[in-house]
């Protein structure tokens, strides 16, 4: 198993718990590995944020389509009628 994969299992609490405990011990003893763990953890956060931004962009695109294209006229009318009440 590669070092990156071992760090992943430890950081994301995946796989064999014994392996994770060994990785944790290595991280405590090895500054280089500890450093990699810190940046890998931040990388997961950035990837998550990137995924969320992509999702928001996709949602906005769907909404724009529903509120602009001719084929969704009934949908728009239905929504507008709710706010006209």
């Amino acid at each position: 198993m590669t070092e990156t994969k071992r760090l992943e299992n430890w950081l994301l609490e995946k796989g064999d718990i014994g392996e994770r405990l060994i990785t944790e011990a290595h991280v405590q003893l090895n500054t280089d590995l500890k450093d990699k763990g810190k940046w890998q953890s931040l990388t997961y956060k950035m990837v998550h944020l990137y995924g969320r931004q992509e999702l928001i962009a996709e949602i906005k695109k769907v909404e724009e389509k529903l509120f602009s294209e001719a084929e969704h006229k009934n949908f728009r009318e239905r929504i507008r009628s709710i706010f006209r009440k």
């Binding site: 950035m46 990137y50 969320r52 769907v62 929504i79």
Partner: protein
């Protein structure tokens, strides 16, 4: 049962469209009765989708209700939060779905860099870590012939992005403050 669970092969775009056509009118009826306008209703529904999507793609979620029931429940909670915030600050932006913390400027810069320099790796990584796709699904989306090659490429990308994150974060003075 949620749409994604019923039809895992359906595209995300199609699922979002279904949620809009089936649930958004009901959300609007509820929100309008509470005093929300169309723009606010749109914004709250967008946030509800993000929250619900992240819930159903998480590993431990076992749905017991329909998509509509979950989305409407989230919309109602968001409305309460929004209403309380508006009465205090009169600003929709204060409703944060990002774990309660707005992005620091340095994180914005880092994200912009990652988007411009490593879009393909970021796409691959988010498909696995955010969308929670399997290696098989990852393989078909990105054209890997085997699950093994998808795994190898995923870890290569992870290491590449990790190195970029380290290099860039260390160069932004305010990043680790």
């Amino acid at each position: 049962m949620p749409i994604i669970a019923k039809a895992p092969t359906k595209s995300r775009n199609a699922v979002i469209t279904d949620w809009y056509t089936k649930v958004f009118p009901k959300a609007c009826t509820y929100l309008h009765k509470k005093g929300a306008d169309l723009e606010t209703s749109k914004e709250l529904f967008q946030q509800a989708i993000v929250i619900y999507y992240e819930k159903i793609t998480s590993e431990h979620f076992e749905p017991r209700l329909s998509d509509e029931a979950y989305l409407m429940g989230i919309v109602k909670k968001l409305w309460l939060k929004y209403h309380n915030n508006v009465t205090q600050t009169d600003a929709l932006e204060t409703l944060e779905i990002r774990d309660g913390h707005p992005l620091e400027p340095a994180a914005h810069k880092l994200m912009a860099f990652l988007k411009s320099s490593g879009e393909k790796c970021m796409q691959l990584l988010q498909s696995y870590y955010y969308e929670n796709l399997s290696m098989k699904q990852l393989g078909s989306r990105f054209g890997f012939r085997t699950e093994r090659s998808a795994t190898v490429q995923k870890f290569k990308c992870l290491e590449k992005v990790r190195n970029t994150v380290k290099e860039k974060a260390l160069s932004y003075e305010d990043f680790l403050d």
